[in-house]
C-alpha cells in the first residue's frame, strides 16, 4: 500500500481546464491515478482527458464521491479552492500553487487542522507513489529517479528531490511514496505530521528526509523519533549548511532568523534521535545501505 494516495483514491481536479491542470491530469491518469472528475466554474459539460467537468466541487461530489482533491489554481485563488474542497468533506488535498499569500496559508492550515484534513503544499510538486498514483507534477517517466521501491521520501524542495532521489535509486533502492510538503514558510502539512503514515506503511522500509535550513520541521521529526512515533531508519539530507545567515537564499521558508532553524541544530537533533545525516546527495544512498544492512 502506498501512503496518502492509492490507486483506489478517487481524485478530483480543481482547475482541470487550465493549461497545467489539463496537462498533468493526463499524466496522473497515465500513471494510474483514479481521477474521477474535475471542476472549473463555468465549464460544466466539458470533458478533459475523458473526465467530466463541473461548475463546483459540490456538484462534482454529488456525482462522484471524491476522496481527494488536486488543486491547480493560481495562488490567489488557492485559499478559496481549498475551502471549497473542505466544505465538501474532502480530507486529502494537494495544492501546487507557488505564491500563496502567507496569511491565507495560515488560514488554510488552520481550516485543515480544524476539520481533520490534510493539505499538502503549496509550492510543491505534490506526491507520488511510483507505478501506483500521483497527485502533482513529477517526471515519473524518468526511471533514474522514480523507480518503485521501499524508501519513503519526504521533501521541502522540488529540484533537490530529483537530485537526491536519483542517488537513492543509484544505490539500488526505489521509492515507495514520495511527498513534497513544499518550500513555503507555512506548509499545509508538516514533516512530523506525515510520519505516522510512513510508519504504518508496510512498503516503506526506511525514510529519506530532504530538508533545508529554516523553520523547525526537521526538529519536530527528531522529536517524533524520540517519542517512538517513528521507528524506521531515517537518512536526512539538509540543504543550506553553508548558507550565509540572514540572507534569503532558496525557498521562502529557508531562512535562519534569531538563531532558529540552523542546519547544525537540525543535524544535532536528528542525530540525537537516531537518524543519520548525509552531507551531500550522493551519500544518501550509501547511508541508506549501511542502515538497512545493519538492521
Amino acid at each position: 500500500m502506498s501512503i496518502f494516495i492509492t490507486s483506489d483514491t478517487k481524485v478530483l481536479v480543481q482547475g482541470i481546464t487550465g493549461k497545467e491542470g489539463s496537462f498533468w491530469t493526463g499524466h496522473m491518469i497515465n500513471l494510474g491515478t483514479n481521477v474521477v472528475c474535475g471542476v472549473t466554474p463555468g465549464k460544466e459539460g466539458q470533458q478533459i482527458e475523458g473526465r467530466r467537468v463541473f461548475n463546483s466541487v459540490r456538484r462534482a461530489v454529488s456525482e462522484f464521491d471524491a476522496d481527494a482533491s488536486m488543486i491547480f489554481v493560481p495562488p490567489r485563488f488557492t485559499k478559496d479552492a481549498v475551502f471549497e474542497a473542505l466544505d465538501s468533506g474532502i480530507k486529502k488535498i494537494v495544492t501546487i500553487a507557488d505564491g500563496i499569500p502567507l496569511h491565507e496559508m495560515v488560514q488554510i492550515r488552520a481550516a485543515a487542522l480544524s476539520c481533520g484534513a490534510m493539505v499538502i503544499g503549496g509550492n510543491t510538486s505534490g506526491c507520488i507513489s511510483p507505478e501506483v498514483a500521483m497527485m502533482g507534477m513529477f517526471p515519473y517517466w524518468i526511471e533514474r529517479v522514480y523507480r518503485k521501491g521501499s524508501i519513503g521520501v519526504m521533501t521541502r524542495s522540488g529540484s533537490l528531490t530529483n537530485e537526491v532521489t536519483a542517488m537513492v535509486v543509484r544505490a539500488g533502492f526505489g521509492v515507495s511514496s514520495l511527498i513534497g510538503i513544499g518550500g513555503d514558510p507555512v506548509p499545509g502539512t508538516r514533516f512530523a505530521e506525515m510520519l505516522p503514515l510512513y510508519q504504518n506503511d508496510s512498503e516503506t522500509e526506511a525514510l529519506v528526509i530532504i530538508g533545508e535550513l529554516g523553520g523547525t520541521m526537521e526538529e519536530e521529526v527528531a522529536e517524533a523519533m524520540q517519542q517512538g512515533i517513528f521507528t524506521k531508519p531515517v537518512v536526512a539530507f539538509l540543504g543550506g549548511r553553508t548558507a550565509p545567515k540572514g540572507k534569503r537564499m532558496g525557498h521562502a521558508g529557508a531562512i535562519v532568523t534569531g538563531g532558529k532553524g540552523t542546519v547544525e541544530g537540525k543535524i544535532k537533533a536528528l542525530q540525537q534521535s537516531g537518524g543519520v545525516v548525509a552531507d551531500r546527495p550522493s551519500k544518501v544512498g550509501e547511508l541508506l545501505k549501511e542502515m538497512l544492512d545493519n538492521k
Binding site: P75, R76, D98, G99, I100, P101, L102, H103, V106, Q107, R109, A110, L113, S125, M137, F138, P139, I142, T155, R156, S157, G158, S159, L160, T161, N162, E163, A166, G183, P185, V186, P187, R190, I210, E212, G215, T216, E220, G239, G240, R241, T242, A243, P244, G246, K247, M249, G250, H251, A252, A254, G258, G259, K260, D279, R280, P281, S282
Partner: protein, 368 residues
C-alpha cells in the same frame, strides 16, 4: 519585502501608534536643518535594512549642531543614503512588541515583553519567562480581551495598560492590513511622562502578498548591490558574493545545495542565481548577469520537471552564441527531455555532465 524604519513608522503613525517627531535628511545640510526642527538632543538614525544598527554605530545621539554635522558627515560617508532625525524622548522603560505567524499552530502570534530594547531571541534563551505569547486566530482577528490581558501582564498601571491596549490593537491591524510576515516595535518606550511611543519600527511584508499591497516600489536602496537590484527587476533570485564560480542553477533547493557543495570542495561562489521555475526561458539574461561578475567559471546545474531540460539547454546554447562568454561553462542539465538537451549541448560543443557533484568538482578545478 522589508521596509525601512521610516516607512514602518509612517505606517504606524497612520494607524494611530505614537511615534517620535522626526524629519528626513539626505545630506549633512539637511540633517542640520532637520535637527533644528526636532530640537536637541535628537537621534540620527541611518535608514539601512541591516539589523544591529546601534552596535554598528549607525545610530547617533547628538546634542548640538556641531555634533549633528560631525555625526551626519560620518554616517553619509559610510554609504548611508538617508537619515531619520528624531526627537530624543526621556525613557523610563522599554518594552517589546511584535506580531508574526506561528506556522505550527497556524495562528498569528503576538510576542511581548516588559523588557524590550534587547534582541528578543536572546531574551527567549536567557529569560523565557519574561516573554508573553498570545495566539490570534487570523480569521477572527485580535480580540479585545486578548489585548487587555496582555497589556495588564506587561504593566499594572492602568494608564499605561490602556495605551498598550490601543497600541496592540493597532499593531495587529497593521499586521493584518499589510500582510506582514513580521511587524515589530522594539523598543516601545514608556517615557518619564508615562507616554508610550514606538522607539523603532520594523515591518516585513510577505512577498507573496505584494501584488495586493500598493505603494511599495522596489528601488535600488532595498538591495545590497546593483547586480541584485538588476536581477530583482527581472524576477531572478540573485545574491552577490565575491568568489570564483557563477551559479546558474534551477530550483531553490538544488541551487542552495550546489552552493554548499562548492564550499565543501574548497571553491568559492561569485553569485547565487536561480533561473528555474518561471524563469527557465531566461538563460540569456541570467548569463548576462553572471558575466558581469569577475568569476572564473559559470556552473549550470538543473534537474527540472516543468523547467524542461531541452528548453534550458537551448537557452544556454543561445546565450553562449549571443554573449560569447569569456570563461568556461560547466553544464549539468537533467530532467524532462534530457536526451534532447544532451544533443543540443553536444552539438554546440559543450560536454554535458550528469552528476551534480562531478560538475561542482570540475568547476572548482577550473578555477585553480
Amino acid at each position: 519585502m522589508k521596509l525601512f524604519e521610516y516607512q514602518a513608522k509612517d505606517i504606524f503613525r497612520g494607524a494611530g501608534i505614537p511615534v517620535p517627531r522626526s524629519e528626513m535628511a539626505r545630506s549633512v545640510e539637511d540633517t542640520v536643518n532637520a535637527a533644528e526642527k526636532t530640537g536637541f538632543p535628537c537621534v540620527l538614525k541611518s535608514q539601512v535594512l541591516q539589523g544591529g544598527r546601534g552596535k554598528a554605530g549607525l545610530i547617533q545621539i547628538v546634542k548640538n549642531p556641531e555634533e549633528v554635522e560631525k555625526a551626519a558627515s560620518n554616517l553619509f560617508a559610510r554609504d548611508v543614503k538617508l537619515l531619520l532625525v528624531e526627537e530624543a524622548v526621556s525613557i523610563k522603560k522599554e518594552l517589546y512588541l511584535s506580531v508574526t505567524v506561528d506556522p505550527v499552530r497556524a495562528k498569528a502570534l503576538i510576542i511581548a515583553s516588559a523588557e524590550g530594547g534587547v534582541e528578543i531571541e536572546e531574551l527567549a534563551v536567557n529569560a523565557p519567562e519574561k516573554i508573553f505569547r498570545e495566539e490570534v486566530d487570523i480569521t477572527a482577528g485580535l480580540q479585545s480581551f486578548q489585548a487587555t490581558d496582555l497589556a495588564y501582564r506587561l504593566s499594572c498601571d492602568p494608564i499605561e495598560a490602556k495605551q498598550l491596549i490601543g497600541i496592540l490593537r493597532r499593531l495587529y491591524s497593521v499586521f493584518a492590513k499589510y500582510d506582514a510576515e513580521l511587524v515589530e516595535i522594539n523598543p516601545l518606550f514608556i517615557t518619564r511622562e508615562g507616554q508610550l511611543i514606538a522607539g523603532d519600527g520594523k515591518l516585513i511584508i510577505d512577498e507573496n502578498s505584494m501584488n495586493r499591497q500598493e505603494g511599495f516600489e522596489r528601488t535600488r536602496e532595498y538591495y545590497d548591490s546593483d547586480m541584485e537590484f538588476e536581477a530583482a527587476k527581472e524576477g531572478i533570485p540573485y545574491l552577490q558574493f565575491d568568489g570564483d564560480i557563477s551559479l546558474m542553477c534551477a530550483g531553490a533547493g538544488l541551487t542552495t545545495t550546489v552552493y554548499d557543495l562548492i564550499n565543501y570542495e574548497g571553491g568559492s561562489v561569485a553569485n547565487y542565481l536561480e533561473f528555474g521555475g518561471p524563469n527557465y526561458r531566461k538563460a540569456v539574461r541570467a548569463m548576462e548577469l553572471c558575466l558581469q561578475n569577475d568569476s572564473k567559471v559559470i556552473l549550470v546545474v538543473t534537474f527540472g520537471t516543468i523547467a524542461r531540460a531541452d528548453v534550458m539547454a537551448e537557452g544556454i546554447v543561445d546565450a553562449i552564441e549571443r554573449l560569447k562568454p569569456d570563461r568556461p561553462i560547466v553544464v549539468c542539465i537533467r530532467g524532462t527531455n534530457e536526451e534532447e538537451a544532451v544533443k543540443t549541448l553536444r552539438n554546440a560543443g559543450l560536454e554535458p555532465l550528469f552528476d551534480t557533484e562531478e560538475a561542482v568538482r570540475k568547476a572548482v578545478q577550473l578555477c585553480k
